[in-house]
Amino acid sequence: MSEIRVLVGTRKGAFVLTSDAKRKDWKVDGPHFAGWEIYHMKGSSVDPDRIYASQTSAWFGQIIQRSSDGGKTWETPGSSPDDLKGPDGMPKGESNMFVYDGIPGTHMWYDGTQHPWEFKRVWHLEPALDNADHVYAGVEDAALFESKDGGTSWNELSGLRQHDTGPKWQPGAGGMCLHSILIDPKNPKRIFIAISAAGAFRTDDAGKSWKPINHGLHSQYIPDPHAEVGHCVHRIAMHPSKPNTLFMQKHWDVMRSDDGGDSWREVSGNLPSDFGFPIDVHAHEPETIYVVPIKSDSEHYPPDGKLRVYRSRSGGNEWEELTKGLPQQDCYVNVLRDAMSVDSLDPCGIYFGTTGGQVYASADNGDSWNPIVRDLPAVLSVEVQTLK
């Protein structure tokens, strides 16, 4: 019998929600790390009980937490009493040490001047597909780090930040964050990332060199709407069976690429608003995608006070609203970019969390929804594990 585990990061702690395959009765465990912001948690596909969490605070900085038992207990890698007994003697306590490679240099600030790169937090953790100890971290100010020792130490893949266009990258309203990391399951040396507000980038050599992949994006709010970089990409998504097809929720516009990001075309179609944050793909239907339209960049809530997920079964352009079980009046929550995920059961389960603290689940491809929990702190991220 399969089990579903939903990993929820919030403004004030982490929660682990579990259910059997019926997805009706849920157990809520938490808060873990009470009082801390949990930007993201994600489990390894190699060892689902290995989970990484980004714990952060404006006061006390970045912490990396690791669980080896499915989220029941946690440790800061390299700081446990067992490490004291290791051949290296004292633990290093460097699991939260994110130091840019070389002289960090500068990027563009909000006012157009140059500003030094400054590490602030980890937005997204992406475990590698072949080794539970190998994990990538997307950080603010935008850079990609990796750990090959289970999060005990981190090194920057600095070819990205040192790309020629780096001085032109600038922060979006939420900071200059690297928020999306997609690993090509057929070629792990190919990785796609996205930065707000720089755009999408691709490496084909495991992170040594990077190419901006923003051709076809149009952002009328920047000086050159078709610029090579500077686009506020909110999220990119991929189905593992079609890694050359990418979907993007941009600041405005929903986009798709069928050539690994080399070119993009708009597929916003009949959406009531093409502004939004998350985008995700059905587990078994590579052309079925989901977004949550938000009214505008200055009004971060659903149009008309109605919380609606939109589904396209044609890879974009034709969208249907999904409302059953979702509030259809007086709803003014937001759904943040890392707060939507899918399970791999049949029918596919879709999950998302809101800034109002609700986590909604659909066990029927999005046709109907129920809240798993209603009153958590603001939800920053949702990841789902399907356990066999």
Partner: protein
Amino acid sequence: MIRVILPHHLRTLAKVGDEVHVDLNGSATVKDVLDALENKYPMLRGTIREHNTLKRRPLVRFFACGEDISHESPDAPLPDPITKGEEPFFIMGAIAGG
């Protein structure tokens, strides 16, 4: 022995109670206390002061004997009541932001 009071968030991180102790005899400085604290609780490294520069994080404050000593040199001797364990050394998060 020096008594140290950690802010709530760092207590949960280090999995300790209200007060922790570090073994320092005789005179000691803020730097000595933080070095000893981080050796005993390595997960605190980078949370009170920056990893490489060892500069105090901007929203962290130090108090000794009722005085805010955050801006004093980390190499300045701590008052006797702190080094004798009569009063605790406070590490606090600034009241900002909620």
